[in-house]
């Protein structure tokens, strides 16, 4: 099927819109979709994502040289990792890197983890109780949000009680 707009390329994007009971179908190619501002979600390879983030930091650098410049040149005192090295292989050098490169990593993690920045899963049983509670609170809050959204107030009340006990 050819793109309805340019009538040149194959239509790879098929949209169905229903508005006021009227159903319209649009078949267009990726180029025309982009021109029309239709966003197609793509999986961006990590190193590409990282270089984009680093270069956008470079731009900030010219605006505020001190701050971003310091971030870019930072070397992890524990393993010698730098952001430049990381961007080449997409692998960190040690657990401390998550703190040392906190800001750029946070941006990267948010992007590659569908907007999530907090762990709400398993916690090692040997981890201190406070740490276990911390993750449990995140998990319960998330479940509470879901329950409220689903208007399941009975479950929401139960979760709220559990949260109160933990906090």
């Amino acid at each position: 099927m050819l793109c309805q707009v340019c009538k040149e390329h194959t239509a790879t994007i098929h949209l169905t819109e229903i508005s006021h009971g009227q159903r319209t179908e649009i078949h267009i190619c990726e180029q025309c979709a982009q021109k029309q501002g239709i966003v197609v979600k793509n999986q961006v390879p990590l190193n590409e994502l990282l270089s984009t983030l680093l270069s956008s930091q470079g731009q900030e650098e010219s605006a505020a040289p001190g701050v971003a410049g310091a971030v870019q040149d930072e070397v992890c005192p524990f393993c010698g990792m730098t952001l430049k090295k990381f961007s080449q292989k997409s692998l960190l050098g040690c657990p401390h890197d998550y703190e040392v490169f906190d800001q750029p990593l946070r941006a990267l993690i948010t992007r590659s983890q569908a907007g999530h920045t907090r762990h709400a899963g398993k916690v090692p049983s040997r981890a201190p109780r406070a740490m276990r509670n911390h993750v449990e609170v995140v998990r319960l809050r998330r479940r509470l949000d879901a329950a409220v959204q689903a208007e399941d107030y009975e479950v929401a009340a139960q979760i709220r009680d559990q949260l109160r006990k933990l906090q």
């Binding site: 997409s90 050098g93 657990p95 920045t117 907090r118 762990h119 899963g121 090692p124 740490m131 993750v135």
Partner: protein, 351 residues
């Protein structure tokens, strides 16, 4: 145990007996873990790598999993042995090719394997035949608890389990299913699957995971997001939503083919079978394609007298390293193609 001893039989999780195994060949869950107090593998010196290897090896071999566990020193293993383990999905290609102290601990029935000093210090995996992800999670979670009694993992209250690559951080979990989707491929709907997967943050890969192409209508579907949702949520998303939908589409596609193009379908299946029964030289790629069509034919009852177990066996045992291990020596591609054709002929003509 030598890896080459594995070359004459199929891994249990690949025997095609599990629930829904006509479409979902197998289920796998992997957890990525790192030992606290050590640099991640890319920055770890050889001496410290040996230390990590030694510690994890001891801990893993002492696990009580109700069956024998073997350690394979990958630094000392031959290329053929390494390739054999890759072909059986017990280790990754990267793990095979890497250098330095590294190894694998493998359960006798191959339903559990652990890679030591791959991208992370420890990557444990559990396999099951068919769609059995909940069982995989239950088992791997228990094994992880057992290991954790002896090893302190790198863990952060905010980011969870810390991994060398931030794309694995949080749960460190990779849930995946191996799918056989000839119907969607033949009806030209496979693109739709790719797009849907992309929109829902899932990755579709080839038979051997990351960086491999999909051949012979086999695909691996896995989660991309490891931070945020809890492990059981990620698992139930697969078991309750994603996989049943794909199975439904594949089943519909096969039914549609049967109804609207039975001749085309039969032609594809019967040609594949005839080729496999007559060819004198066959590459592993071609074998994969043809076996894939025959496999669909068996499930749609268009072929009689060939069992899925036989086909799965041929899928696994006709791979290059398997053929060479059985012969006990390296063989050039032509020789392998002849041997492969002979093996397939003898198995498929018996019936």
């Amino acid at each position: 145990m030598r890896p080459t001893e594995l070359s004459d039989h199929v891994s249990q999780w690949f025997d095609g007996s599990g629930p829904g195994a006509d479409i979902v060949i197998s289920s796998r869950i992997r957890l990525a873990r790192n030992v606290a107090g050590y640099e991640f593998c890319p920055c770890l010196t050889t001496a410290r790598k040996s230390e990590v290897l030694q510690r994890l090896r001891e801990t893993l071999l002492a696990l009580d999993l109700g069956q024998e566990l073997f350690f394979i020193d990958l630094n000392a293993a031959s290329t053929l042995e390494q390739n054999l383990l890759v072909e059986r999905h017990l280790i990754s290609r990267q793990h095979a090719r890497a250098a330095g102290p590294r190894g694998a601990v493998i359960a006798h029935d191959e339903s559990f394997t652990a890679m030591i000093n791959e991208e992370d210090h420890l990557r444990i995996q559990v396999f099951q035949t068919g769609l059995q992800l909940a069982a995989c999670w239950e088992r791997i979670n228990r094994i992880d608890d057992l290991i954790e009694q002896h090893v302190e993992y790198a863990f952060d209250p905010e980011y969870g389990y810390l991994t060398a690559c931030p794309t694995n951080v949080g749960t460190g979990i990779r849930v995946s299913v191996m799918l056989h989707l000839p119907g969607l491929k033949m009806t030209g709907q496979i693109e739709k699957l790719f797009n849907t997967a992309r929109d829902t943050d899932l990755a579709v890969r080839g038979l051997f995971g990351e960086g491999t192409e999909a051949v012979g209508d086999f695909f691996q579907l896995s989660n991309q997001v490891t931070l945020g949702p809890a492990e059981d949520q990620i698992v139930s998303n697969f078991t309750d939503m994603v996989v049943p939908k794909i199975v439904e589409y594949e089943t519909l596609a096969r039914e549609k083919l049967l109804k609207t193009q039975p001749d085309k379908l039969d032609d594809k299946i019967q040609r594949a079978l005839a080729l496999l029964r007559s060819a004198r030289l066959i590459s592993s790629q071609e074998a994969l394609f043809l076996l894939s069509h025959v496999r669909m034919g068996v499930h749609l009852r268009r072929i009689e007298g060939v069992s899925v177990a036989t086909l799965n066996e041929l899928f696994m045992l006709t791979q290059p390293a398997h053929l060479q291990a059985r012969q006990g020596k390296p063989l050039d591609p032509d020789h392998r193609d002849a041997l492969r054709a002979q093996m397939i002929r003898s198995r498929l003509c018996q019936n």
